[in-house]
């Protein structure tokens, strides 16, 4: 008898199992293949715009992805470093051998966690409650809660040209019955698809015809607790190349051979809007002369290079032609062909904001099974499912992050409120409070939650307290300390074309000017405290007005979040609501007015009617 069983060993499963075990629950992780724990079957990077912030959030809450990435990456950089602090995000090139190995080490070190290789085909269900899992051979394993993190393995089909093969990304056996069983239990299943490009032998590429994309020359970490684990000069570069007219001609002439363009007539899955195949790009953007491709190393330990931007479901012989038409790839050796994969997912409006399903009690789902794509999106859901399954066993309220608190909150709220039509990817544009959800302040936003649920230690919390105290102290210092405008100072300002301060100004006043940085001022006087603290003070002073505006907006939201909708509300009794809105409200069953507003198809007029109804029927509004 286990307390929690996690089904699936991908990024969601690892975080879920880790969180449950660290919180002291007897946990079993069941995977079809231990070798595939924390596998990266698609692109080799971790982080990226918005996603990098999620990795920071995972770390702030006590998850493992950031630490494992820090210990194993090939290179790391800060994206958008020329833009404002709100959109800066880390992106690391992972190592497909080292990352899974390190993750497995991490999991093996947990005394409450057991890992087992097996195929799960059903759940033990009594009175709409999950009581454990049933393996392929009929063996039953009992538990108090089950977390499904099956990724793309539900009825997975690999599509290449005109062939459809039932198998997972590495040719392994998928789960054939679990999604049928879920349907029987009452879940709505949705078919999705995604694709992946070719892997090319590093030694067969002429890199002189490509552009080098190195890592940053500044030390960076995802984790708030780790010192950098790499040397700047040891980072491995990525490269950049472009498609040619010839590439486009080959694609256009062979379009009918692509699985997605008619070679297979039974495609149901909906592919991600933001990850079109190269066929899609050439067709939809026919006026573009070339498309950008990134050549990314997959590992220090083997020669595969990932050709990002070239995802395709053309048959192998066409892929050969396509690849050879790229500059630097004339003699390239394809180690693995690109393919598309179709799989089953559950429709995420069937989830509560804790990621427990509404259909079966004590069943949680996380990751691609919920219709998302991306390692980071999967990992953060796994973490939240692991935390909330544990909290449920402990008889505690679930941890639900709000949209103004974390990208994780934005993601889960989007899933359960809006549902999905194609695989969901996080984007900064999905967050209305992105100025509050920065990479630099993830610890200040979330560490205390991590501490409260038991994933963050006293020592880690103390570090945060010190940091916050120092920020206040430095702010105070800038308010009192003044820059004496000497001749030398004046010259420096003039040299940079900055307006020379008329009289003695405080550093606070000076730093409010967009062009003046702490780095610039430090040539006149050294600021106390570390770079990390200085960065926080600078952001605070420079963007104070914008940040204040965001907080004000967030307060409006919070007010609406406080307007609860009783779980037992009967929407048929609310007269005058438009019928589309009524149907959507019944499906999503929002818990607050704020959530109801975000449902597409529910209009402001429906909201006012609903508010009036609540006030009348339940006698409370605020």
């Amino acid at each position: 008898m286990y307390e929690i069983i996690v089904v699936g060993g991908g990024h969601a499963g690892c975080e879920a199992a880790h969180a449950a075990a660290v919180k002291g629950h007897k946990t079993l992780l069941v995977t079809s293949n231990i070798k595939n724990i924390a596998d990266m079957p698609c692109n080799p990077h971790i982080g990226g715009s918005a996603k990098g912030i999620v990795v920071r959030e995972i770390d702030a809450l006590g998850g493992v992805m950031g630490k494992v990435a820090d210990k194993t990456h090939l290179q790391i950089k800060m994206l958008n470093s020329a833009k404002g602090p709100a959109v800066q995000s880390l992106r690391a090139q992972g190592d497909k051998i080292a990352y899974p190995k390190e993750m497995l080490n991490e999991l093996n070190s947990l005394e409450n966690l057991e890992i087992r290789e097996a195929m799960v085909e059903d759940l033990i269900v009594e009175d709409n409650k999950v009581k454990g899992i049933i393996l392929e051979d009929g063996e039953k394993i009992e538990s108090q809660a089950v977390i499904l993190t099956t990724g793309t393995y539900l009825k997975a089909d690999i599509l290449v040209g005109n062939t459809r093969t039932r198998q997972g990304p590495h040719g392994e056996k998928p789960s054939n019955h679990l999604s049928d069983k879920l349907k029987e239990y009452g879940f709505t299943i949705k078919r999705l698809k995604t694709g992946t490009p070719q892997r090319i032998d590093r030694n067969s590429i002429d890199f002189s015809k490509t552009k080098v994309e190195p890592g940053d020359d500044k030390y960076l970490t995802f984790s708030f607790d780790l010192e950098p684990q790499y040397k700047i000069e040891d980072q491995i570069p990525c490269h950049l190349t472009y498609t040619t007219e010839e590439t486009h001609r080959i694609i256009r002439e062979n379009l009918n051979k692509s699985s997605m363009y008619g070679a297979l007539d039974d495609i149901e899955g909906i592919g991600p809007r933001y990850c079109p195949s190269i066929e899609d790009k050439v067709v939809r953007f026919s006026d573009k002369e070339r498309h950008q491709l990134f050549i990314e190393p997959e590992s220090r330990y083997y020669d595969d290079m990932y050709l990002q931007g070239f995802s395709t479901s053309m048959p192998p012989e066409v892929q050969e032609q396509m690849v050879h038409s790229l500059p630097g790839f004339e003699n390239a050796k394809i180690l693995k062909y690109g393919y598309a994969i179709e799989y089953d997912a559950i429709y995420p409006t069937q989830l509560k904001n804790s990621l427990e399903t509404k259909v079966l009690e004590n069943l949680f789902t996380a990751g691609q099974i919920n219709g998302t794509s991306g390692y980071e999106e999967a990992a953060c859901q796994g973490l939240m499912a692991g935390i909330n399954a544990s909290l449920k066993l402990e008889g505690r309220e679930p941890l639900v992050l709000k949209r103004n608190e974390a990208y994780i909150g934005v993601l889960i709220d989007d899933l359960i409120t809006k549902g999905i039509r194609d695989p969901y990817r996080l984007l900064t544009s999905r967050a209305e409070f992105r100025l509050l959800l920065r990479s630099d302040n993830a610890d200040q936003r979330l560490r205390r939650y991590g501490y409260d649920v038991g994933l963050i230690s006293n020592e880690q919390l103390e570090r945060l307290n010190t940091k916050e105290r120092e920020i206040q102290e430095l702010l105070e210092w800038t308010r009192n300390q003044k820059l004496k405008v000497t001749k030398e100072v004046e010259e420096e300002f003039v040299k940079r074309n900055y307006q020379v301060p008329a009289a003695t100004l405080t550093y606070e006043q000076l730093l409010k000017r967009p062009e003046i940085t702490i780095e610039f001022l430090e040539q006149f006087e050294k600021f106390p405290y570390s770079d990390e603290i200085k960065e926080q003070v600078e952001i605070y002073l420079k963007y104070e007005g914008y940040i204040a505006k965001s907080y004000k907006e967030a307060e409006k939201l919070l007010k609406l979040e406080k307007k609860q909708i009783p779980a037992d509300i009967d929407y048929d009794k609310v007269s005058n609501i438009a019928s589309e809105a009524r149907q959507k409200l019944k499906e999503v069953r929002p818990t607050t007015i704020a959530q109801a507003i975000r449902i597409s198809g529910v209009n402001p007029s429906d909201i006012s009617i609903l508010s009036v109804y609540l006030k009348r029927e339940y006698g409370k509004d605020e």
């Binding site: 692109n43 715009s49 958008n80 490009p197 990134f294 984007l427 544009s429 999905r430 062009e515």
Partner: protein, 454 residues
Amino acid sequence: MNDTICAIATSQGVGAIAIIRVSGEESISIVNKIFKGKDLEQVATHTINYGHIVNDNNEVIDEVLVSVMKAPRTFTAEDTVEINTHGGIAPTNKVLELLLESGCRMAEPGEFTKRAFLNGRIDLLEAEAVMDMINAKTDVQRKMAANQIGGKTSSLINELRDDMVQIISNINVNIDYPEYDDVDIITNDVLVPKITKLKDKILKILKESENGKMIKEGIKTSIIGRPNVGKSSLLNNLLEEDKAIVTDIAGTTRDIVEGQIRINGIVLNMIDTAGIRETEDKIEAIGVEKSKKIMEESDLILFMLNNNEPLTDDIKELFTKLENKKYLVLINKNDLETVLNREELDIDKDKIIDLSILENKGIDELKNKIVEMFHMDEIETKDPTYLSNARSISILRNCLKRVEDVESALENNMPIDMIELDIKNIWEELGTINGSSYEDELLDEMFSRFCLGK
């Protein structure tokens, strides 16, 4: 789900016909109960049916035409029946009573429009326009409301938002796909002309909306002058010409309106200056303070002087308040001996009109001048498509202010992603004018316009 409502849709009083509108799920069956003629439950939708309204005792109340319109192609998007009765008060009320007895509920003011809005038949702007249409007094007002109902005004706002969504989505792509070098990079320099263009468009709509407001609410006009200068005569003269719209009821504003004059289809609401009635012997009787207050509130000031009187200090004082106001100076009693020294009038000579109300001289010139001042001739010929209600105009004004904030942020070299926050807020706020808005719009735009992905 909705109960069935009814109301007399035409204005109360004696007219040639009156229309009673019934809307809701049971509208057809309820009217059928009191109708003698064809079986209304069997007739095709959008037909007009002749017959009689009868009471329980089969007594004929009125001879009527009944229009049967089934959902959803009706104003409220519900089943709707309209009964055309002979317009007498008694029969119309009797039919209404019968409907109420048969299961209808009396509609609240604006409830038909509210239902149309709630049923998704019209957007917020259109709902407001319907109310305007009902209250329209002139042709221009009617035309303007009609354009708004047709969604023309909405498309004006949508056009603005479309411009913005392109800017926003491009910046978002820059943020979310920073490594793509084949996407246009929006920099502050690229943005400045786009924002200027946006500002100009908003300014233009605002300016035209001022006209819209004028059409809808009329021009508040006051006649200022010393006692016996002929204010009342002028007012009566102007009213004389258009007795049809002389009313004694309080106007659309808080002011007491003495009467309404229509020039080129635009209503001039004459503010009552009776409050400044004066005792005959006292010079200060002009009521300087009271006059100032009225002038302050007026859109148009008609300042009257007598040709046979000298310029007094109180008049000179009031003249200083004419600055920044639209005004005309009318010099009356030109049939009498000239005492007034026009050189003392420190105003544009263009603004002076010579009158002789007694001889009915100068009245046409006055009217022409007003038409010219308010560009009324242009308004009438143009398609009146602009925001005409205070809510929309105030939102748009707010947006203009925020656009100006964006301009100064650009000047200060704020990072582009910060500026995007402001632009997105403006975009959202504009959406509240016609009740559109949504996040997904932005994402769709992003993925349809830019080529990205693995």
